[in-house]
Symmetry: C2
Subunit: 306 residues, 2 copies
């Protein structure tokens, strides 16, 4: 049963597109040099997307801010992967990954998404998902506090459960089991959220949009604060190794990446998340007491940053 005033998918799609626009604008402004190049693509079966990639900016070395809206029949492969019934689906979202030049500027990822399904029986289901997480090459506790405090504020406006719940979810999700490391300092992550206690579809949508709208102010502040910091060749090499870990996470664990590659998604849009370059050294060990070691010690689940 839907309320009359509940957002329909067209309104959600429009809001996501506008968010993509406003984030691109804010990032270009903060970068000062790089411009997003847009590619429009169509999906066989229904829908398509606007992939926007910025390369070789002043601050951002490589990054993407992608919008997509795909729809059509649920294939048996999709039904199995997403553990859902067959029918007609619509999926729309905004996905961002930014890799900065300076190792003192963190990598960031944001995604918000909406999914709806009309099952063969006629029953309709929908859900939202999303999250923001930060992957500093060097963990700066002040930045970590700022980041988590902002996310907490966004969550608190909607439900007091959200930040603690979604913070733990992010710790669990952005985790490299084979490294026993979190990808970074986490953030928030949530999935299959259609309602929550007294919050309905409109309310969840408002929360999701607030997460999306928090992205640009948070990240442009971190860019501005750190972009001029000098760095050494050692720090640059460490950044390349950390980018290697980012590649490992995205190709081995990331659910969106795996699902996209398995269901014939648009490869170049999905893999825009990969860094411009990454390094692997066999069994690299950080020096005792080094900044690199301090960072590794903070790539753990369950740290309270605020």
């Amino acid at each position: 049963m839907q309320k009359e005033n509940e957002k329909n998918s067209k309104a959600i799609t429009e809001a996501f597109k506008n968010l993509q626009d406003s984030i691109c604008l804010a990032l270009e402004q903060a970068d000062g040099l790089g411009k997003f190049l847009e590619e429009n693509w169509q999906r066989e079966g229904g829908g398509g997307g606007r992939t926007r990639v910025l390369s070789k900016g002043n601050v951002i070395e490589k990054g993407g801010v992608n919008f997509s809206e795909v729809f059509g029949e649920v294939t048996p492969m999709m039904a199995q992967k997403l553990q859902m019934k067959e029918g007609n689906f619509l999926a729309t979202g905004v996905s961002i990954v930014l890799h900065p030049h300076n190792p003192h500027v963190p990598i960031i990822h944001m995604n918000i998404r909406y999914f709806e399904l009309e099952e063969l029986s006629g029953e309709k289901v929908y859900w939202f998902g999303g999250g923001i997480d930060l992957t500093p090459h060097y963990v700066d506790e002040e930045d970590a506090y700022f980041f988590h405090q902002n996310l907490k504020d966004v969550c608190q406006k909607h439900h007091s459960d959200f930040y603690p719940k979604f913070k733990i979810w992010a710790d669990d999700y952005f985790y490299l089991k084979h490294r026993q490391e979190t990808r970074g300092i986490g953030g928030i992550f949530f999935d299959r959220l259609s309602q929550y206690e007294n919050l309905g579809k409109e309310d969840i949508f408002a929360f999701v949009m607030e997460v999306g709208n928090s992205f640009a102010p948070i990240y442009t502040k971190l860019m501005a604060k750190n972009k001029m910091k000098p760095y050494t060749e050692t720090e640059k090499q460490w950044q390349y190794l950390r980018r290697g870990r980012y590649v490992e996470f995205n190709l081995v664990y990331d659910a969106g990446t795996k699902f996209g590659l398995e269901t014939n998604g648009r490869t170049e849009s999905i893999l825009m998340s990969l860094p411009p370059q990454a390094h692997w050294l066999y069994n690299f060990q950080v020096e005792e007491g080094s900044k690199e070691q301090q960072t590794l010690e903070m790539l753990k689940k369950g740290i309270s940053w605020v």
Copy 2:
């Protein structure tokens, strides 16, 4: 029913260790500078391995020649992943990946493995697997012919079905579905081979060892032939992009890598296969008529190289 003279696992393990030794020696000689550094590791639950990695040689930039022999109880996770019954297992093998400096020297991979299982019912099963495949950054048809002809000769000595069967298997296995590209020019691949027509365990083992022993002469010849070829910055950049594809294959598809990471294998030994560095450019397109385009056109299944 086993014949009295059939190889037991101890003899297989010894042969694999000796093969590791002889390959390392041959590669060090061919490289002229690099030396393998060895690390011995133990597996909780039974067994361990000898990881040998060579970095910054004359010809080889980064490579590993690993031996392992692990045994113990089949965990429910293993049973599920390998689609087999529970019991006590032993798995031993030699795995090699070499990333050369010069983009005109191909990347190579070799693996031979033996697996045996005593099921809870007392029934014993075993099988061999293995393969060699070549990933040139630029496909050289003369090298491709040489490579496949050698593998064909090795196979022909054992069974006339082997080369055609295992060549197709390699084309299918070393395939990046999301790129619609083979990883390189293939080679041979086989798995779960315990007997074949009139060939029994001894015979299959002899075949597997011949595959293993063919590795050093084949690759050192390709090293010698190509290591002095001059290369441009464009060719070096292309090499980094091709290494990116190698990373994608290994982390998204490679069964050994996935299995190892999922079952708490030794991460650094498993991921020695990753290149020293790799690049990703958004939606990189090769130039019409370029050597890069010619190579892409040969990264297809079903090409008869001999």
